[in-house]
């Protein structure tokens, strides 16, 4: 099976020093639902930007659907569909026209485009808004219009850049169903997200990136197996956590402890034992506990152990 996407030592430096992407090597086989997971500023949007020919790489190579994005960018664009982070419909045009015109930019005959537009609008539940202005659509409806637009010229690879940011939970679930359906038709999908659950639910494989570097790449199940067996307990105190760290290290049930500013991070396999011990420790030190957060062994704890920071 050929690769839908292949990057070699992809690097992007903004200005002279901001390294957004550092020697990224990725291979996405055709038909895969691929997730790029990382916190803000990790390099996700830059990666998508390069693969969709909107950003020029500083060095390295990227092939999308068999076309080099630097030297044959028009060919690459012909084979991809892109759903942007923020819906950007063409406001000069009506809802259905947004689809029909976009298809004609790709050489799809108008009549064919109109028929496909009707089908897509029907399937995505916005057929009744067909002749309306795009501004009359809700956020969720606009996002569905964007995915319809990205599909109307029947691309081989679909790119989505944090497509569910700003959607309410119900709209998000509906959007997931839609993506599963699109993927079911055999299309390759590359999606960035900083929602752990989204990546877990949808993706065949997930790449975790941060500071422009690939930290881990595997199926959600395999990645979860790699997650540290401990639950992570973050205890936020009313001041620096450092003085408590040594005592926390040796508290019952605690495997390891770290201090990060006012936050005491404790790794434990026995939450029921460790939490009361830490709270007692804080109290005896005359400290107030402002917040406690538990992360069970999951993609999230793996992510935290890899990057040192939370996703959101």
């Amino acid at each position: 099976m050929s690769a839908a996407i292949e990057t070699r030592a992809l690097r992007k430096v903004y200005g002279d020093k901001v390294v957004a992407l550092d020697a990224l090597d990725l291979t996405v086989p055709e038909g895969e639902f691929f997730g790029l997971l990382g916190p803000n500023g990790a390099g996700k949007t830059t990666t998508i930007g390069i693969l969709t020919t909107r950003i020029r790489a500083t060095s390295g190579e990227a092939m999308v659907a068999g076309a080099n994005v630097a030297t044959r960018s028009a060919d690459a664009r012909r084979r991809i569909g892109v759903v942007p982070q923020r819906p950007n419909p063409d406001r000069g045009l009506r809802v259905a026209e947004n689809l029909v015109f976009h298809a004609t930019y790709f050489g799809v005959p108008r009549a064919v485009a109109a028929k496909r537009a009707d089908e897509l609008l029907e399937r995505f539940g916005i057929a009744d808004k067909k002749d309306g202005k795009v501004d009359a659509l809700s956020g969720g409806q606009q996002q569905r219009l964007m995915i319809a637009r990205a599909l109307i010229h029947e691309p081989r690879v679909l790119f989505l850049d944090e497509p569910t940011v700003g959607l309410d939970p119900q709209a998000r679930l509906a959007f997931w169903d839609l993506l599963r359906e699109v993927h079911g038709q055999g299309r390759t999908i590359v999606m960035t997200t900083h929602y752990m659950e989204e990546a877990d639910q949808l993706c065949d494989r997930i790449a975790i990136i941060d500071h422009g570097k690939l930290l881990a790449l595997d199926s959600p199940a395999k990645l979860k197996e790699r997650a540290p067996g401990d639950t992570i307990v973050d205890v936020t105190l009313d001041g620096e956590a450092d003085p408590l760290m040594a005592a926390a290290q040796s508290a019952p049930g605690v495997t390891r402890a770290e201090a990060r500013g006012p936050m005491l991070r404790v790794f434990t396999a026995r939450v029921g034992e460790a939490v009361p011990a830490i709270l007692a420790l804080a109290e005896s030190g005359g400290r107030r506990v402002n917040d406690i957060h538990l992360s069970r062994p999951s993609l999230e704890t793996l992510f935290i152990s890899l990057t040192g920071r939370k996703l959101t």
């Binding site: 930007g49 969709t52 020919t53 909107r54 950003i55 020029r56 659907a65 960018s73 028009a74 060919d75 664009r77 012909r78 084979r79 991809i80 892109v82 942007p84 923020r86 819906p87 950007n88 419909p89 063409d90 406001r91 000069g92 045009l93 026209e97 947004n98 015109f101 976009h102 004609t104 930019y105 790709f106 050489g107 637009r149 010229h153 029947e154 081989r156």
Partner: protein, 264 residues
Amino acid sequence: MTEAMATVSPLRGFGAILLRDITVVRREIVSFLVRTTVQPILFCVVFGYLLPMMGIIPRGFTTMMVPGLIALSLTLSAVQSVSLPMITDFGYTREIEDRLLAPIPIPLVAVEKIVSGIIQGFIAAAFVLPCARLIIGPIPGLSFHDIPLLILITLLGGAAFSALGLLLGTGLPAQQIGLMFSIIIAPMMMFGCIYYPWRGLDAVPVLKYLVLFNPLVYASEGMRAAVTPGVPHMPVPVVIVALIVTTAVFLWLGLRSFMKKAVS
């Protein structure tokens, strides 16, 4: 599914994007005409009708002014029909993305905007001319002796000012677009030989040579050559070369600025 698609020519995508612009303009034709022709038409009313009626300026003045007003409406519409959409297109949501994703070389997306600007310039100029005739009455010395020249000047003027619109629309920060009119367009209008022929500036030699940097001068003088040959005007070859050079310079600068915004 891709082999048939691979043979689609860039020209087809270009045509489709042009059709998109024509659809949008047709839908907003009234506001488009108001935006670009009200000013020249009001000039017609005041300088072509009121002042001559009052005897403050001689009737012959209109003969000098009408070609300038056609050039003005051509200029205003061409500059605005490229610069204003560019500002929305590259604004917060980057509406232009759906065209930048078209499988054609990206500079063609900008060139399309210029073609669209030329078409809109034609429409505005063709609208103002009969309006002027209607308001002013018979205009002595107005003749359509050289239609091909009239079309050529409109085409070249439209191209030069659409390219200027591309440069301004992509080069200026969006919040400063109001400045574009007061700092660039207004002086261009006043020193664009709209209300007087270039030869008239013999009286002020310094200005006579300074205004040569103003591309509107060549559009106005070219229009004079095309529709009021009796009024003194620059030689046609000079006008044509100047408009071509202007178009080339603005197009080069405009494309550079467009590409900077389109691909980072």
